[in-house]
Amino acid sequence: MKTEKNRAEMIKEISGVNPLKCMKCGKCSASCPSYNEMDIKPHQFVSYVINEDIESLVNSKSLWKCLSCFACVERCPRDVKPGKLIDAARQIVVRERGNTYLDPDEIPELIDPDTPQQLLVSAFRRYRR
């Protein structure tokens, strides 16, 4: 089992983000289209990584609500880009065997005749190893 410190370092490494650059302006949370669906808000992701509380992050609903729409990435004035931290936390989860958010068995129920290939491919990339 990795320590919280290890996992915080891993998130920083995978994302390439230095959370200490954050000035807590909240522009990420102001931009996020999924804000209301998230339990841990985009700006809070930064302080959770700084405080090395990764357990809360990997168990958060937010991981699966982020659209990777890059609105926070585009607008972050401090080059922190919380979207990258969220994606890194998601990577930590899906890279552990068995910890996926999408099971192939679910697919038949989720799709309809118009579902584009792009949707399935993208979802598999984000939700599974």
């Binding site: 490494e13 994302s15 659209l67 585009e74 958010y101 118009d114 949707l119 979802a123």
Partner: protein, 265 residues
């Protein structure tokens, strides 16, 4: 003018229209799209993890193929464009990724981001020119009020995609003007439609699409155009206001007087 062309998997299947109309219009406009042989799926999303290499290799293969032919690489699907453009940027500017990707690929000559990646719209704007396009329009779409829906992937991150102003783009509006129609500018044109999240969180996507369509029709749009099959799917599925959504290439073909030709095929 001949380009390497990367259609991507959706354009071979659910989004065949996007592809067909693009090819036939290209021909009429005097450029040729030569499909890359044995291309592989781009993965749909750009891997944000800086430590991922394998997921970038299919893009590198396509890019290298174009390089070997000495051609620019044209894409059409927003997702493919986003992924390939960003991977190309990595290969050009990130030493570590370039080295590791080339180790996997074992090419005759290492690939270092030499290929220029162009979205079809960029070809229209930067190579053909919207003025020239306007001259070739035989069936101007007069009276149509069209909202351009950009979504996320073409525009952001603005610095890397270098496609247009990410907060106030105008390439699609200029395109609409060139076709003889009237562009409708509305603020949600660069907001997310929900993307892949619609697979498991349908309601979220529904809410987002509703906002986009309400904003567009509020400003007077009769229809939307998009370059992304997933945006098309989400918008259509959640269409509350009966605002039809078209691929931009379909309107292009229509304005060039080629639409029937395609339908006959």
């Amino acid at each position: 003018m001949k380009y390497s062309y990367y259609p991507g998997c959706t354009l071979k299947n659910k989004a065949q229209d996007l592809d067909h109309y693009a090819r036939i219009s290209a021909e009429a406009l005097g450029f040729e799209l030569e499909e890359i042989s044995e291309w592989q799926c781009c993965g749909g999303v750009y891997p944000l993890g800086t430590d991922e290499i394998a997921t970038k290799l299919s893009s590198v293969r396509a890019l290298n193929d174009a390089k070997e032919k000495g051609q620019d690489l044209v894409t059409l699907c927003s997702a493919c464009h986003h992924v390939i453009k960003r991977v190309n940027d990595d290969m050009k500017n990130v030493d570590d990724i370039r080295t590791r990707a080339n180790n996997y690929m074992a090419l005759d000559e290492p690939y270092a981001g030499e290929t220029k990646v162009l979205h079809y719209l960029e070809v229209l704007r930067d190579v053909i020119g919207f003025d020239e396009l306007k001259k070739k329009v035989t069936n101007p779409l007069k009276g149509k009020k069209i909202g351009a829906y950009y979504g996320c992937l073409l525009l952001r991150p603005g610095k890397l995609m270098a496609f247009d102003d990410p907060e106030n783009p105008k390439i699609m509006e200029d395109f609409i003007r060139a076709l003889g129609a009237e562009p409708v500018i509305y603020p949600y044109r660069n907001e997310c439609c929900g993307g892949y999240i619609s697979l498991k969180e349908e309601d979220m996507s529904k809410e987002m699409c509703r906002k986009i369509e309400k904003s567009a029709s509020g400003f007077g749009a009769d229809m939307l155009i998009t370059a992304c099959p997933l945006c098309m799917y989400n918008l259509n599925k959640n269409n509350g206001d009966n605002l039809p959504v078209y691929y931009f290439t379909e309107l292009l073909a229509e304005a060039l007087g080629l639409k029937e030709e395609v339908e006959e095929q």
